[in-house]
């Protein structure tokens, strides 16, 4: 794994204080560690660094002893005392708190031995987990603000844009638009009044996709890299003012970003005449207020201006008419975090990772039914199998992998048959999914795909801003149908109806929210059609999630006509002559299941009849 290292004589004790670890009481760990160092007169040898997220969030509060990168995890304050005593004083590694490989029980001491870490290439996350996010000295020690210095003193805006184009970096906010070309377009847009007006740079940190936390971790763990990138972008396109639009739920990110901006200004990396050049650039934070559609760029700009976050049709694109009708460059947090290192190391260096059409790396938030949840950064084109089974450590409780949801409410599902396709922009589009922002929710066989589709539609329906009819009304109709299906009241025509509504909404919606809203439904219908049919035709939820009563039937071939079922039926709805196949009146049946239990020859089925047709959703 590649990560930033800080050059000082002291040894470093890294304590992760990302959001997840903070809620697992990591602050107390850092405090105890400092107290213990003090008590044992070790302060001159060790520096405690409270870092941003290192990625392996479910391992709870952890201490990483640098430079060897030995990780202790799941710690309480008492454990810290033991580590100080045994490791720092006696030089013995404390086995007890080391990472244990789930299958074999083998202990692993250093990050490089743990498959979750060793399979990663950290570029956007290069500093996350290794430096104190706010202190500028830490950022400088890893080469921070060198790119900006180089840009301001040795490069022309055209050269900067050329380098970004050369890298092939594509927008990480979901669209995948080539970043260099966007910069070039915004540079070429003319301002009417060059003296008075300015273009704008916006960093999109709205991260509305539920199940994604890449941008949050970057802002919490390495805010200076985003600020540096925004200043570089400002220089490249000719802008004096930047905004970071952060969602309100991300309190810690806002706090650290705010602190970083203040420090950067004091250091001269932001503000007037940056690093003694004639370039000036300022950054303000704008906080969202809980509307998913505000992640969409035109809606976001309305929100920055203090209005309702309604999207508007494009063109004109933000590069032509953005904030206050001025040319505006809008990039995602992760896109920006890649910029400083691309400038320093060059576009070709970046291209060596990833695939031809999707160069570089991508950060994914790995969550759901998987052993190692957390943040990972892998080269574009890595397969789902590598992510789920090597980095993710497989599915817990000896269950089976069923599907992965990628791209959030705009994306789709990947099934077992997709385990070996490369995850990059184009391959995913081909199979009706998308890279999206990078949320990757893994599901085992206990998840119902119809229920998941309903979940996403419920989300988009709720977040639809209501401006255009197809999205506002169309998603509502779709949701009603899905609700009916999961309640066991679906009708045979429902699937067709869902399909035709999807096409309509995709063809006629105003913004990306509506255009992509049907995707989760279309994708689950494509790969798990049998599950929809089981719900509708058999009134049966194969995963056992939906609360529907199954439909009982008697198989005439197997039924011997013994009459036992008719005898136990409390509702008297089973009829038939002795030794002839019996029938159930499904309308009147109260679905108590007594007949199913009593039948001596297993002639009574309840919906699962078609289950054998499909294994894991693939027919």
């Amino acid at each position: 794994m590649k990560g930033g290292k800080i050059l000082t004589t002291k040894m470093h004790l890294l304590v992760c204080t990302g959001s997840a670890c903070l809620s697992a009481k990591a602050k107390g760990i850092a405090e105890t560690l400092r107290e213990e160092l003090h008590k044992n007169n070790l302060e001159s040898q060790y520096r405690v660094i409270e870092t941003g997220c290192i990625g392996s969030c479910e391992l709870g509060p952890k201490i990483i002893v640098s430079p060897e990168e030995i990780m202790y995890h799941g710690l309480t304050p008492d454990d810290v005392k033991q580590i100080v005593q045994e490791h720092l004083i006696n030089g013995q590694i404390v086995e007890k708190f080391l990472y244990e490989v789930p299958e074999t029980g083998e202990k692993k001491a250093t990050l490089n031995e743990i498959s979750f870490f060793k399979n990663q290439i950290k570029i956007a996350l290069r500093n996350c987990g290794f430096i104190n996010p706010v202190q500028i000295e830490d950022y400088l020690a890893t080469g921070g603000y060198q790119a900006l210095t180089q840009v301001l003193h040795q490069m022309t805006p055209e050269q900067v844009i050329e380098t970004v184009k050369r890298s092939g970096l594509r927008g990480r906010g979901g669209g995948g638009f080539p970043t260099g070309i966007k910069w070039e377009l915004t540079r070429k847009s003319e301002l009417k009044n060059k003296k008075m007006d300015t273009k704008y740079v916006i960093c999109n940190a709205d991260e509305g996709d539920p199940g994604a936390f890449m941008d949050r971790s970057i802002l919490e763990g390495d805010p200076h890299s985003v600020l540096e990138a925004m200043a570089i972008a400002g220089f490249a396109i000719g802008s004096r003012q930047g905004y970071v639009y952060v969602r309100a739920e991300y309190g810690l990110a806002v706090e650290r970003l705010d602190a970083a901006i203040k420090i950067a200004k004091r250091y001269g990396a932001l503000g007037n005449n940056i690093f003694d050049s004639d370039f000036s650039f300022d950054i303000e934070i704008r906080i969202g207020a809980g509307a998913f559609v505000c992640g969409e760029e035109t809606a976001l700009m309305n929100s920055v201006m203090g209005h309702r976050g309604h999207p508007r049709p494009k063109p004109p694109f933000p590069a032509q008419k953005g904030l206050w009708n001025k040319p505006t460059l809008i990039n995602n947090v992760e896109t920006l975090a890649n910029i400083p290192i691309i400038i320093l190391k060059g576009g070709d260096w970046y291209r060596q990772y990833g695939t031809e059409k999707s160069p570089g790396t991508k950060v994914f938030a790995l969550t759901g039914d998987i052993n190692n949840t957390g943040l990972i950064e892998v080269p574009m084109g890595t397969t789902l199998r590598t992510i789920v089974f090597d980095l993710g450590g497989g599915i817990p409780d000896e269950r089976e992998f069923k599907a992965a949801q990628i791209g959030g409410p705009s994306g789709g599902v990947l099934t077992r048959e997709h385990l070996d396709i490369p995850l990059d922009y184009d391959s995913l589009l081909e199979i009706g999914a998308m890279v999206g922002s990078g949320g990757l929710v893994i599901m085992d066989e206990t998840s119902c795909m119809v229920d998941i589709a309903k979940f996403y539609l419920d989300f988009t329906q709720d977040e639809s801003c209501g401006k255009c009819t197809p999205c506002r009304v169309g998603t509502k109709r779709m949701l009603e149908i899905l609700m009916r299906i999961v309640d066991g009241e679906g009708q045979e025509e429902d699937l067709e109806e869902l399909e035709s509504l999807s096409v309509l909404i995709k063809d006629t919606s105003l913004c990306g929210l509506g255009l992509s809203a049907p995707n989760p439904v279309l994708s689950t219908m494509k790969y798990f059609r049998d599950e929809y049919e089981a719900h509708i035709l058999d009134r049966y939820c194969p995963a056992g999630v939906c609360n529907i009563k199954p439909k009982y039937r008697i198989d005439p071939e197997t039924c011997t006509g013994c009459g036992l079922c008719a005898k136990v039926c409390p509702e008297n709805v089973i009829k038939g002559e002795k030794r002839k196949p019996h029938q159930i009146d499904s309308e009147a049946c109260k679905k108590c299941g007594l007949c199913y239990e009593k039948c001596p020859v297993g002639a009574i089925t309840r919906g699962e009849s078609r289950k054998h047709l499909s294994i894991g959703g693939v027919r």
Binding site: S19, P210, R216, S303, R308, G309, T367
Partner: protein, 181 residues
């Protein structure tokens, strides 16, 4: 409601009066202290372009919720129509016009939490507190809310009570967690 009680106790004898153009009447504003704080915010942002959302965030922090009076006051000071302020308040789900309980319990309904069973946790909270999301218990102690992803998905399922995040919880633990508040 706690918020209201506080209002009473801090009520001073000099109500702020101003003329509301939309309503063509004079509105009397009680509760000086909070309005003084709001005034400081407004002084700072009055001339900053596009600051309405920021001001409303601050106002909600001060008052706990955005009552009609507060919205009118903000509209007046920023020189924008009340309709626009109300439009913004009603658009964003984080703005609330109802007074809140002492603690807001937020149940994350993001994907990761949903897959890990946050639905059951919400059911449990609803039955235990006897309220639906968006409502406040009669004693004014808890407000129940559902929220979108809180960005701590690796600890799913998650609830947030006030500023505390509780991760990896089960419906059975709810009662015990609530005793701490």
């Amino acid at each position: 409601m706690r918020v209201e009680e506080q209002n009473k106790s801090t009520k001073k004898t000099h109500p702020v009066k101003y003329k509301d153009n939309d309503l063509q009447q004079t509105v009397i504003v009680k509760d000086d202290e909070k309005y003084e704080k709001l005034d400081l915010v407004l002084d700072e942002y009055e001339d900053v372009e596009g600051s309405l959302v920021t001001v409303l965030h601050q106002a909600q922090k001060i008052f706990g919720h955005l009552s009609r009076d507060v919205q009118i006051y903000v509209a007046e000071r920023l020189g924008v129509p009340f309709a626009e302020v109300y439009g913004v308040v009603s658009f964003y789900s984080l703005f609330t016009v109802q007074p809140r309980g002492e603690y807001t319990i937020e149940v994350c309904m993001g994907t990761a939490c949903y897959v890990k069973g946050s639905g059951k946790i919400l059911e449990k909270l609803k039955s235990q507190l006897g309220i639906e999301p968006g409502e406040t218990t009669e004693d004014g102690k808890y407000t129940l809310e559902t929220t979108r992803c809180l960005g701590a998905c690796s600890l799913a399922p998650i609830i947030k009570i006030g500023d505390d995040v509780h991760g990896n919880i089960t419906a059975e633990q709810i009662s015990e967690i609530l005793t701490k508040y």
